[in-house]
Symmetry: C2
Subunit: 247 residues, 2 copies
């Protein structure tokens, strides 16, 4: 038995999220379908670094699977991409040791979120940017973003239905760049709770448009109450950019 | 009666081209449907600078329509965008004189064509770039491109079914830029025959991959025979970038 790790890109627009579900088009479903074809009908279950929601994209999602077939990494890459639909692409395959686990061994993850801050929608960005047509104070947003760097209980910044008990996470770095009215925010952290990036972005936008005071961020980080944070920004601006492992 | 000119962007991915057709989703069909709603059921016919094929995009297609309604340009922009689907967007509306015609008054058009010259497909570019995974000689392509600048009979570079008798067109400028394996070719000309840009691009790619000799371009421009030029490059790399009028 061999274990392979894959780096996967997908355009989330036409998926009901990553995780497999009956009668839904999902990224996991498509990858497992491709694996099943290569295995001549044998069902193969993949493990991912984590789920992504409907309409969320990935540049570098990580997964692993086990197989008894004797293909090389390059052969796996070609075989799977041949079977996969055009909105999922395996960028890299490598053999890993059997104690590697795509979810349990995550050291850090980077998410990026893109905002199109122009009065007009751009048809070519509509699936990949949150279109925010009103003025934003970029400097205030940059300042606000730095409040999230560090180790905090992110209860205020996760979907109320999150079941994980431990909501303490560490954000190692957070940056915001604006070029020609396109804003890209990068968050690198130990892990992210459900909707955490999107709620941080929603809160930042409220800082940027002047409807929220800077001090409210510390209060939200200390208050452990979803109501203290901003709205959840839409999913389609979000990309799971990269997953790093400690190996 | 007032005449309005509109600059229109569209993502061609989910359209059967620009021109209205029975039982097909077309850009013209969607714009006329929006105009009909604003006119409370009255049918309004638009005129465009020209058609674009299935899967071809536009950043700045130009159209005009006539109306007896007394909306301002800004009101037209808002009213139409409210009715239009998310893959068509009216970027600008302006009132023009009644002798303006979106097709007959074209002075020049710019088309851009994007190639993703990387060994791997990029899921986020798959609808907007021609994925060409093999090596291309950029310098040879730049040299070849300059052969098209000038006034020529482009019979060899248009679809054999083109009905227009006069196939003489002028290309004013042609540029190619390559940045991080993304190649963008811009062609500015007096007008373009059916498939003309895509056949020029297909010919350039054959120069770039070494399967075509440089002298064959002059022969194709002089030979008036579709067989002398290269293959037609796929539509989804093509964008009608801008249309200019002499007023």
């Amino acid at each position: 038995m061999k274990r392979f790790k894959c780096i996967v890109a997908y355009d989330g627009t036409q998926f009901n999220g990553f995780q497999i579900q009956q009668n839904q088009r999902t990224v996991q479903g498509e990858i497992q379908k491709a694996l099943k074809k290569v295995h001549k009908g044998e069902e193969i279950i993949i493990q991912a670094s984590g789920r992504t929601d409907t309409n969320v994209h990935a540049n570098g999602q990580a997964i692993h699977f086990d197989t008894t077939l004797s293909l090389t990494s390059e052969q796996w890459k070609r075989a799977l991409n041949t079977q996969l639909p055009s909105d999922v692409f395996i960028k890299k395959v490598e053999e890993v040791s059997e104690d590697f686990h795509a979810r349990y061994n995550v050291e850090r993850k980077e998410y990026r979120y893109a905002i199109w801050n122009h009065k007009d929608e751009d048809v070519f960005r509509r699936h990949y940017h949150y279109h925010y047509p009103y003025q934003l104070n970029i400097e205030l947003m940059k300042e606000a973003l730095q409040h999230f760097v560090g180790t905090y209980d992110f209860t205020s910044f996760c979907s109320a239905k999150t079941e994980k008990e431990n909501k303490v996470r560490t954000i190692y770095s957070a940056t915001l760049e604006e070029v020609n009215q396109e804003i890209v925010i990068s968050l690198v952290g130990s892990g992210f709770l459900h909707n955490m990036v999107r709620i941080i972005i929603g809160t930042l936008v409220e800082i940027g448009n002047g409807r929220r005071e800077m001090h409210s961020i510390k209060e939200a980080l200390n208050g452990a109450n979803r109501k203290l944070a901003g709205k959840t920004a839409p999913p389609h601006g979000l990309v799971l950019w990269e997953v790093n492992y400690n190996n």
